[in-house]
Amino acid sequence: MQIYLPIAEISVNAFLLLGLGGIVGVLSGMFGVGGGFLITPLLFFIGIPPAVAVATGANQIVASSVSALLAHLKRKTVDLRMGTVLLIGGLVGAAGGVSIFNYLKSLGQVDLLVNLCYVIFLGIIGGLMFIESLNALYKTRSGKRQPRKKHTWIQKLPFKMRFRVTGLYISVIPPLLVGAFVGLLAAIMGVGGGFIMVPAMIYLLGMPTKVVVGTSLFQILFVTAFTTLLHATTNYTVDIVLAVLLLIGGVIGAQFGTTLGTKLKAEQLRILLALLVLAVCAKLALDLLLQPSELYSIGFTS
């Protein structure tokens, strides 16, 4: 069934969009990532104009993260206090990111920067996560437990706060910085930032994996809602018909994803996410390294 999108101004298959939304929804529920790093390239691939894909992708992530977040709230795996601290940092970072983005746009190399950002961050994070979770998996099999690092420099910072759900008593400075950094990258790369946030919470803040997913969703929800509004009012690139089709698939997928996520071990979950991140990274890296079949591209003047 073909459907004409009023803002994107093209006609696409409705079932294809439902399926795309569904896949991204499952991943979103399972890993606590918004799925922006997947949905945006996938939308490019089926011929949606990049600007519309980025803005509408953000709107779709709002829906799937609400769906998944509610499931996590019921299971009490969301640290609202930690989420709020991260969010404050995130909004500040996003505002900074938008101005960097606009500055680079005026220099005319923003596409390249976004791609490089994707390759570098997806590569680093995917690689680190993969190695670490393989080690963890090996250790739990052999019966040894990884000793918890008690005293790092992070513990010595001031402004300490108790995060009961997470079971941490740490300074608010690291979560604020993590939030700001993720917000900055999220604005430049046009994603929610879950794939950076999740590992940062696990490895930098030392939060338990089960809480990380729900808390990251909480932060993603607000950042993407903010981004959607910004795109709708300044660029007019949010396509509501496209968004509805994607999110019908997305919200249903997210529910299945959360159920799947609880059935898997934390280490297995991390390995799968790492593999997924590495796969997307490899695809983007190949696009940069191999000679494209069409050297020319058409863009519109602003």
Partner: protein, 256 residues
């Protein structure tokens, strides 16, 4: 004195062209409006007509017909990638100040047989002539490659078409052309031109507009997004949030 001479010369010219236009076009269209509704998946426009003449059909040469349909023009930037430091980067770009979003040429025979180069240049009929590019910077010596790329990419997407058997002419009097509009269609006035040619020269010309408009829900959403963008943004957020909540509630019910 000189002015009067020019005036006389002009009158002669007008008379000359009038005398030439002994064949005229009477046109019909199967639709003067194309409505883009939610289920829009491309459209076919049938352009048909007849040649009206006061004098008998000249037998010296055969009558040929050229039909063009052109979508709204927008300036575009064509960029070229080059390998730098091991990766493919956009390096050079050329601005094309007039490139129709859609352009179709249908003819009753091979383009060069039915239309001479001079006439093509004068009436801007073929695809390369319909595009205007002047903005190539001094550093780019092969700006033609950029316009060629533009035509190549858009032709692949069926946005630019050349159909050399797209017009059928019957008894040198009746003609009929079909133009396929793709699903990815931009709204606006689609300029439709019909040329009658003999020996490659244009002998008559007719121009009309086809109105391509979004209708119904498409129209309403598009207007809302432009005129009430904040409301539109909030609406899309509200849909997203309620859909997320609904799905969550529905699944909670199923599990119970």
């Amino acid at each position: 004195m000189i002015r009067r001479c020019v005036a006389i010369a002009l009158t002669c010219l007008t008379f000359g062209s009038l005398a030439q236009a002994e064949e005229d076009i009477v046109l019909g269209l199967n639709q003067t409006e194309v409505s883009i509704a939610t289920n829009f998946n491309g459209s076919e426009i049938i352009i048909f007509g007849a040649v009206k003449r006061e004098t008998p059909i000249p037998h010296t040469s055969e009558l040929q017909v050229v039909v063009t349909v052109s979508g709204p023009s927008k300036p575009v930037v064509v960029r070229r990638k080059e390998k730098k430091f091991g990766i493919w980067v956009n390096t050079a770009s050329v601005e094309v100040d007039r490139a129709p979003s859609f352009y179709a040429v249908a003819t009753s025979g091979p383009l060069r047989d039915v239309l001479s180069r001079v006439e093509d240049l004068r009436y801007k009929i073929s695809v390369p002539r319909a595009i205007r590019s002047v903005g190539a910077p001094m550093t780019i010596t092969d700006s033609a490659a950029f316009t060629e790329a533009l035509i190549r990419i858009r032709s692949k997407e069926n946005q630019y078409q050349l159909d050399e058997a797209g017009v059928t002419v019957d008894q040198q009097t009746l003609f009929r052309a079909t133009v396929q509009l793709p699903a990815a269609l931009v709204e606006g006035d689609y300029d439709t031109r019909i040329f009658l040619t003999r020996d490659g020269n244009v002998v008559a010309q007719y121009e009309t507009l086809i109105d391509v408009r979004k209708v119904g829900l498409e129209r309403w959403l598009y207007n809302l997004s432009r005129e009430q963008s904040l409301l539109y943004g909030l609406l899309s957020l509200a849909i997203a949030i309620s859909a997320g909540w609904l799905a969550s509630a529905a699944f909670a019910m199923i599990r119970r």
